[in-house]
Symmetry: C2
Subunit: 233 residues, 2 copies
DNA sequence: GTCTATAGTGGGATAGAC
DNA sequence: GTCTATCCCACTATAGAC
């Protein structure tokens, strides 16, 4: 199989010449600015290229599609979330408090992008989109987010069935995806309803987890773990 | 404000002349055929118009956009699902069996459309899209689907906390939306993994519901009901 | 009110020269 | 690595036939 003659770099930091790195950054920054000003659909690749002072073809050399530009937004928000959650976690030792800290800080961090997020969310929801949170391209951001939940669990006093403990961070990440789904649909001022949802669902999750240690719920945790294992392929 | 000179009909059955009805159906059937053959992206509006033996402009007269053609798919699949679930339900009296019947029959009915379903799924995921399962435009289909789950519950022997019983059909519909979400991401042959998921999750749900009557789980059902009530407002 | 024909526009994406 | 030129197709516009 012959080498592709034009192989656009797909990693934000990996092995690029300084010049290429700079061009890439130029394009990305122009794109994010335009996205915030005009939304996703309102921003054309031509406008991005123009604002970044490169040709249209060059923009496509660095970003295989318009959707790929959004990956930059993901990287950004993930870093911000990690930082915000970190300081919120420092003050909490209870499991409920720590989970609340992680979920709530995400909603806070994402707030400025709420409008823009709604516009491109459909692209992220598409199964084969690189923007899908389940895609290979999103693996790094996904792992980082799961790691955050792992920190929340491990730093806490939660009593959880042993079998479930290893899977818990991933399950909590899934919960967070549910919160995100709700969030993009949330039109209330300052996403108050999402905050309410988080505040109500956290104690419920806490209660559910404790339940897995009840005699009558014996096996429930194992079933959930088996389900996740199977489902992950 | 002047009247639009051409106002395309947007209801599948509402007030159309017989001729118009026939043309609309022609276009829709051609579209669904092509979608199945060539997928969503692989089907152009020109091809749809040609296959339906109408002009491109006429296709747009009946369907405001390519996405609007997809509503026809929803209507179709919902009717098919109701029929398939009905006969599957007739043979089952246990709650697990009945829930399995409803979920599994959906996966069967939807199977032929799996490939192209992924391509337009993003439209359903978009918050303000009329194609969203939560939208006002989808209310009829949503209610029909919830009613199906209500039949599954009420015809069964399930013992469930009183407070939860009224909400249960809606919660099961949410579960089905989760299955759909998994299904569109499922690339395994004949969506075997989705079938596996359904087969594993049904007894788990059954167990969870029974759990709500346990002394230690007292209040859990009420919390869930309160959560749903809050979230819907 | 239903439909055709035709001629656009806009923008995502690509090819191939340099 | 960067450009210019081009393709393709969703979608629009319009003028008019029946």
């Amino acid at each position: 199989m012959p080498d592709r003659s034009a192989s656009p770099p797909d990693s934000p930091t990996g092995g690029l010449t300084p010049k290429a790195e700079q061009t890439r950054t130029q394009i990305l920054r122009a794109a994010l600015d335009l996205f915030r000003e005009s939304g996703y659909d309102g921003t054309t690749m031509r406008a991005v290229a123009k604002a970044a002072d490169v040709s249209l073809g060059n923009a496509y050399y660095y970003f295989a599609s318009k959707e790929h530009l959004v990956q930059g937004f993901y990287d950004q928000i993930q870093v911000d979330h990690a930082a915000a959650a970190e300081s919120a976690l420092a003050a909490e030792t209870g499991f409920s408090g720590r989970l609340l800290a992680v979920l709530d800080s995400w909603v806070d961090v994402a707030a400025p992008y709420h409008e823009f997020a709604g516009a491109f969310f459909k692209n992220a929801a598409e199964p084969r989109s690189p923007l899908s949170p389940f895609s290979g391209e999103s693996a790094a951001a996904r792992e980082a987010s799961i790691a955050l939940h792992r920190r929340a669990v491990e730093g806490s006093d939660v009593k959880v069935a042993a079998a479930l403990r290893a899977q818990l961070p991933e399950l909590l990440w899934l919960l967070q995806m549910g919160v995100v789904l709700f969030w993009v649909h949330d039109d209330s001022p300052e996403q108050r309803r999402t905050h309410d949802l988080v505040r109500q669902i956290v104690p419920l999750v806490d209660r559910l987890i404790r339940l897995t240690r009840l005699p009558g719920a014996r096996g429930l945790a194992e079933d959930v773990v088996a389900l996740v294992a199977k489902v992950r392929g």
